[in-house]
């Protein structure tokens, strides 16, 4: 409801003015600082205005040629009793007639949001981090459309994004705004004076305007279409769920190890690309290298490096290499030791050979320390997945044969309570919208789309649209389209 207006008094005269602005900007219109008006009122023979559109027929002789003539893309303003009622952007000029003594032209003017920039052009937003207020996202989209802060009138809402890197892509600006605002029970709307607002989709709230019997001219109602029996909200859960698979063998290998290597580290990747996470890792020894001759002191173990990989460690006793070196050198040294020749004639005492063979045997004993080990690594792969939750509100009174489902996908839902509130609100809204309720009442400029009007018989109407005849001499009647709530 536009609280800057008062309702039009009964039997009062409504003074309508139509003005052309060739240079004013939307911001100037909202601020009220425009000063380039050209008064078209004397030339208007017919005018009809609704919340999104104004159609006027102009008749003139010579006055509207040149700079005074309306051009597409410029602004037209309507006033009632010298107060701005509505302004829009000229969309089309048609049916220009030029005949002796008279010229006429039809002009169609649309509200600023009824343009391809809002409704057709696909856009992409920047990514928003977690806990970004939805107001920030809505404002960002509106700034992208060229609006300034003075042209935006959005209430602060306590809702934020709950996912990291939320981004809207390949959607029109209007679709983006609908997606953001429906999560908190609103819908996008551009007011008659060009400011972007949120209309409330809650049909159970108190009425905005209570009409008295003298202001109602007529009421027409109809019940058409199958109301939805249930509304499903599909939303991405903000928390990840851990899921584990069955234990599987992740890695197996046969390794030959021995005296010739002091240590061996073999990387064990749980997946080829090292992206698979694993828990409960189990190292299984099929054949141990310790069974090799003299290898009981060898070390074989498995180290878990991370949840993506591990490491097989084989290590010889630190002294094996030293022994091999020692005995190898001993062989060479012992080879220099000569055999002994006895003082008395007799066989040569093979002292040197005995020592050399002893060293050689010791060296060979070290060289037998070589064996093949066979190992496996088992584990339980796990991952984190997103849950796509479903919250459904259904009408218990609807019979099975009248089932009619509506599904709404929205990832701006923060929790189950918010999803339930949205599901209930939308089911009530769509169910009520099946019963149209149209009124003709004495003009009331306060009424906007989304308002709830209460009639004298206590029935209530949710306003979806309105129109009024602003032709000079027309009665001050407002025709309202809506549905019963």
């Amino acid at each position: 409801m536009d609280i800057t207006w008062d309702s039009v008094d009964l039997d009062s005269q409504r003074v309508v003015g139509v003005f052309y602005h060739g240079a004013a900007t939307p911001e100037q219109m909202v601020r009220g600082t425009h000063d380039d008006e050209f008064d078209l009122t004397p030339y208007v023979s017919r005018a009809n205005q609704s919340q999104n559109e104004l159609t006027i027929t102009l008749n003139w002789h010579q006055e509207l040629y040149g700079v005074s003539q309306a051009q597409a893309g410029k602004l037209i303003e309507v006033r009632i009793n010298s107060t701005m009622l509505w302004w829009g952007v000229i969309d089309s000029l048609s049916e220009y007639r030029h005949e002796s003594g008279a010229r006429s032209l039809n002009v169609v003017v649309r509200s600023r949001d009824a343009s391809p920039a809002w409704r057709t052009v696909k856009r992409i937003t920047e990514p928003w981090p977690v806990a970004t207020p939805l107001n920030t996202i809505a404002n960002s989209i509106l700034f992208e459309l060229g609006l300034t802060p003075i042209e935006i009138d959005l209430p602060l809402v306590p809702a934020t994004t709950v996912h990291s890197n939320t981004q809207l892509a390949n959607m029109t600006a209007w679709e983006m705004l609908e997606a953001v605002m429906i999560a908190v029970g609103g819908a996008p709307y551009v007011s008659a004076r060009g400011r972007f607002k949120a209309i409330n989709r809650d049909t159970t709230r108190a009425p905005d305007i209570v009409l008295t019997p003298d202001r109602i001219k007529s009421v027409t109602s109809s019940r058409s279409g199958l109301a939805p029996s249930n509304v499903k909200i599909k939303w991405l859960s903000p928390s990840l769920t851990k899921v584990s698979r069955q234990e599987i063998m992740l890695w197996s290998q046969t390794v030959t190890f021995g005296f010739f290597q002091q240590k061996l580290h073999i990387p064990v990747l749980y997946s080829d690309d090292k992206t698979q996470r694993v828990e409960g890792v189990r190292f299984v020894t099929i054949e141990s290298i310790k069974k090799g001759f003299g290898m009981a002191g060898y070390i074989e173990r498995f180290d878990e490096v991370s949840i993506y990989e591990g490491r097989l460690v084989l290590r010889a006793g630190f002294e094996v290499g030293l022994w091999f070196l020692y005995f190898g050198v001993s062989v060479a040294v012992m080879a220099e030791i000569p055999d002994e020749v006895p003082a008395a004639p007799g066989p040569t005492i093979p002292t040197g050979r005995i020592l050399m063979v002893s060293a050689l045997l010791a060296t060979l004993a070290v060289m037998t320390q070589i064996h093949t080990g066979s190992y496996q690594v088992w584990g339980t792969p796990f991952d984190y997945v997103y849950g796509r939750n479903t919250t459904e509100a259904y009408n218990e009174n609807t019979p099975v044969f009248a089932e009619n489902e509506t599904v709404i996908d929205n990832d701006f839902i923060m929790n189950e309570e918010m999803a339930q509130a949205l599901a209930v609100r939308e089911l009530v809204y769509h169910t009520r919208a099946a019963q149209s309720y149209n009124l003709s009442i004495v003009d009331d400029p306060r009424i906007e789309v989304g308002d709830i009007l209460q009639l004298p018989d206590q029935s209530r109407v949710y306003v979806l649209g309105y129109k009024r005849d602003l032709t000079p001499g027309a009665p001050a009647i407002l025709d309202i389209e809506g549905f019963r709530v």
Partner: protein, 174 residues
């Protein structure tokens, strides 16, 4: 959201050839002729009832055969129109909650019938919102206590039996 947006979403949904689902049972051999081995699972796809006996596609990764309960998988329609599990997925059906509501209908004309001081219509007073019901499908391995008390006593169900739950209600033991 406008009705047009919802219609477009429904149309997109009807053309889908892939679904995300959540495995409810361990992969089990379905049928074999001695040569072909077809493993199948029950999959929750976020609808009223789960898909039963969904085969694991022939070309699927062998890791799928070792999937466990509550794993997220992706299903694809085969050429014959049958759903098959062919890969793991990053998204799965989560919770499923239903809320019953009673919305009274309006009659034409004066709802008060000429009465003085009529009851208020609309304003939400005649709309009754019931208790939300949890209908989430989950699976888990039965505990020792459950093995002894469910399905005919201890020994009726083997160790490692899986219970499929709808909300808090045990639907069946697999």
């Amino acid at each position: 959201m406008t009705f047009l947006t919802n219609i477009i979403s429904a149309e997109i949904d009807s053309k889908k050839t892939e679904l995300d689902g959540k495995i409810l049972t361990l992969p089990t051999l379905m049928v074999t002729d001695g040569a072909a081995l077809i493993y199948c699972v029950d999959v929750d796809v976020g609808m009223k009832n789960p898909l039963r006996n969904v085969p694991i596609a022939t070309g699927a990764s062998s890791d799928i055969t070792y999937a466990s309960i509550n794993n997220a998988v992706r299903l694809k329609r085969s050429a014959s129109g049958r759903w098959e599990v062919y890969a793991f997925s990053k998204e799965a059906p989560g919770t499923r909650t239903r809320i019953p509501i009673i919305i009274p209908d309006f009659a034409f004309g004066d709802p008060t019938g000429g009465l003085n001081d009529p009851p208020a219509m609309g304003s939400g007073e005649n709309i009754i919102v019931g208790t939300p019901e949890d209908l989430t499908y989950t699976s888990r391995f039965l505990t020792y206590e459950e093995l002894s008390s469910l399905g005919g006593g201890y020994g009726a169900a083997p160790y490692g039996a899986v219970g499929v739950y709808k909300g808090n209600t045990l639907e069946r033991i697999v």
